[in-house]
Symmetry: C2
């Protein structure tokens, strides 16, 4: 495999697209805006899924499954919600094809037209709240703590693999509660579940905050978010958790009888992360040689490659390598021994570097003599000779070190890219440097819109526990009580 | 919870529908033919998924994800395939809604019409083979052993929860091989993966066989299947594995260069099981009191219920019950302690009986005195008093016994419902009794059609390793070399 990546500094966006395809993560399909997630990419997504699912269940949630299709009439019941999604949805209008009477192939059978069109879910609040109406009668039925792993469709005009595709995979939590306080706590809790997962497992530092009204989810009273910063200085929203108030309960008439016998509307939340996380993962750690994966999410954490000139040498190496393989496997390390004879060692080195395997162990005849192996780190590209008997412990510790180092490196890079500015000129300069810009804003949607039109930057979030500080808006000069974080974003 | 199930002998179909809803497995949605899988039902599906996924990976398969939508032109490339699915598919024709200018709500924006319609996948052979074209160049790229967990849509006119719904969840394996022999072995292997899983985990006996031409998958050269028998004497196809020959490779031009440099078409298989398995599970083991679950798939294997008259008693019981709970949990038993004070013990007994929890442990003040607990089996409804210190071992063994007993009971029932007949009259009588009917058939599609029209019975399968035996067709009297299994089926 020849390395064929455009260097990041030449064209970051091109580097990203090439890497996604060359590292076998995903590919464009013949279907506009829809991606194919290839086995290697999907294996990373499965690691993400499995850990998140575990954390959801640990916090009391259960999974369920709701229909792919939403009748148009349900979809339009919550006014802000339909406004937010109507312009980008796939619509099913017919349910049968027939042979083309005028040529080859098939055509839509016009006699099989649906009475009511079905929307392919862009998100499932409407179908789910329509269901919760039947699930909730009494306070004893609350809370409902449900999550769904699903595909959703939002018709995007400009798509990019993982970052913005017409169909994507995600999870969506939808909860219903007896009190406002409980719903707010739930939304806040899930923000932390996301934040902790992204930092601990993906090794990506996050800023937790709330969205301004402009960037809030269609139908929510408050949107909590985790914001991350990519290597090119653009921000990426990695997850959101919404406090829905009673909006959907009122739209779908979901009420419960409380302990005193009174009928009340329930309070709701929804929260989700998607295959977009894969984009964040790639753009946080990878380099010009390819993908760099944090060990906790790497489908292959360690690859063993034999270096040999002939079959006799390979047979000798096999014995030692297979012992290393089973020792590592026994301590739950995801290890692969690649002794295929259809590819040369150099090709394999490149291949696993491109695919971001955290540790490579190479072993050749000279290592055998010395009783050592060469251990290479993908993140730093450094190599070390390690005595075979020390290998298991060494590898175990190294995986943990790499995980920590990746986070630390990403955090230093992110922290050094938060610019605090007080004037419009320095605001624009800082945006051009890339990163988050911490600035005063007068709190109005109009000003945020004007800033967006001038600079393409949006308010990424108002950090949780933001310091209160008097100041003046960088654009209007009006009074402000706190700084917010602006950035250009994916 | 009042028990409110129609007895099976009165109306089996009604019993089924009521049970699915009352046991919180699934519900009808506001969307025609689409179901909601409720958390308890979905938890069983997750157990099925997790074990199957493990078995797929153990046999060398990897997961991937392909688009939900298939362009109409791809869809029609394999002639038999489009013929088989064209009449039941959901078709996306537009990608935007707009505000209704003449009233409230939203309408389809006619200016946002797709140039080419998209079919919501009823199965993914076409989109996947269109992709494999890009994945395969050389023999080194083979085999491809890919599986996908996904939702699919087949527009059904008459739907029943789990058994036949417009949208359902499933997995679909799609493999590509260098040789015919390898592809046939793969199809055959996956049949055994399914058969072993259904017998070992679902405790449902299966008959492994091949389909007649009439019942074969649209586009396959051979369809292998596992057939099961429900309590009401109707058969249910629980899984299929197809040898596709080179049909899709030719339709999508998927060729590879072999070791000698020759270009050849690849050989394919596909195989799938779906949420229909939930229907088979319910209709094999359950009774007039509700669901009966085999321990290996039960989300809750053991429930502990305290019997008390006042809070002091509950506090005493809590101490002992929580100890039992953690002891069982430590030996990996899925156990729940239900000490809610919002429901009475009798209600709880009914609830967990309805939900098929394999073992109930009840503990009251008199048990405390004696140092025992009352252990009840869901399958036999028998009860026994067990000394507390013996409980963990007793429960562990009982779970294993229940799993075996359920299979044995289902197998005896199935075996006693295989009727061997040699005349048309006895054939019709046997069908009316219910069960499989083993009879000679002349091997033609016409005869199979005529039998189906007369009796609603189809050939469920020609068993693997079927005994060769000369005879005459029950309908036509023409010569036959082996018996096949007929049945009325779900």
């Amino acid at each position: 495999m020849a390395k064929n990546l455009t260097p990041r500094k030449n064209d970051y966006s091109r580097w990203y697209n090439e890497l996604v395809v060359q590292a076998d993560l995903a590919d464009n399909s013949g279907v506009r805006g829809c991606m194919i997630i290839k086995p290697y990419g999907f294996a990373i997504w499965e690691e993400i899924q499995s850990e998140l699912d575990y954390r959801f269940k640990e916090t009391g949630h259960v999974n369920a499954y709701f229909p792919l299709f939403i009748p148009k009439s349900h979809f339009s019941k919550e006014a802000d919600h339909v406004e937010g999604f109507a312009k980008e949805c796939a619509i099913v209008t017919h349910y049968r094809l027939k042979n083309n009477p005028n040529g080859p192939g098939v055509i839509v059978d016009e006699t099989a037209k649906l009475e009511e069109e079905l929307i392919v879910r862009p998100t499932s609040e409407t179908i789910i709240w329509n269901t919760y109406k039947n699930w909730v009668q009494s306070y004893r039925d609350l809370p409902i703590l449900v999550n769904q792993w699903a595909n959703v469709v939002r018709w995007e005009m400009r798509t990019r693999l993982f970052l913005r595709t017409s169909e994507f995979l995600w999870q969506e939590g939808h909860t219903a509660h007896a009190t406002e306080g409980e719903a707010v706590s739930e939304a806040r809790q899930m923000l932390d579940v996301y934040g902790d997962f992204v930092e601990d497992h993906m090794a990506i530092p996050v800023i937790r905050g709330t969205k301004s009204a402009n960037e809030r989810f269609a139908g929510a009273l408050e949107t909590y978010c985790i914001e991350t910063l990519m290597q090119d200085g653009k921000a990426l929203q990695a997850g959101t958790s919404h406090f829905l108030g009673q909006n959907f309960a009122k739209a779908f008439d979901v009420k419960f009888q409380d302990k005193s016998g009174q009928m009340k509307y329930v309070w709701g939340t929804s929260w989700g992360v998607s295959t977009r996380l894969m984009g964040a993962l790639i753009m946080t750690h990878s380099d010009d040689n390819g993908l760099v994966l944090p060990p906790k999410l790497a489908p292959i954490q360690v690859v063993i490659i034999p270096i040999y000139r002939n079959n006799d040498e390979l047979m000798e190496l096999d014995k030692v390598a297979e012992k290393i393989f089973s020792t590592l496997k026994n301590i739950d390390i995801r290890v692969k021994y690649d002794n295929r004879d259809t590819y040369k060692p150099g090709w394999k080195f490149n291949e696993y570097e491109l695919k971001g395997v955290p540790i490579r162990i190479a072993i050749g005849p000279r290592d055998l003599e010395k009783g050592t192996a060469e251990v290479a780190r993908r993140d730093t590209l450094s190599k070390e000779s390690v005595v075979l008997e020390n290998l298991p412990k060494y590898i175990e510790e190294l995986l943990s070190t790499i995980q920590k180092d990746l986070f630390q490196k990403a955090k230093e890079s992110r922290d050094s890219s938060i610019h605090i500015v007080d004037t419009w000129d320095s605001f624009e300069l800082a945006l051009d440097k890339g990163g988050f810009v911490s600035a005063h804003w007068d709190g109005t949607s109009e000003t945020e819109d004007r800033i967006k039109n001038k600079t393409k930057a949006t308010i990424r979030c108002i950090p949780i526990d933001n310091k209160k500080e008097d100041g003046v808006c960088i654009l209007t000069g009006d009074q402000s009580k706190e700084r917010v974080l602006f950035a250009r974003a994916y």
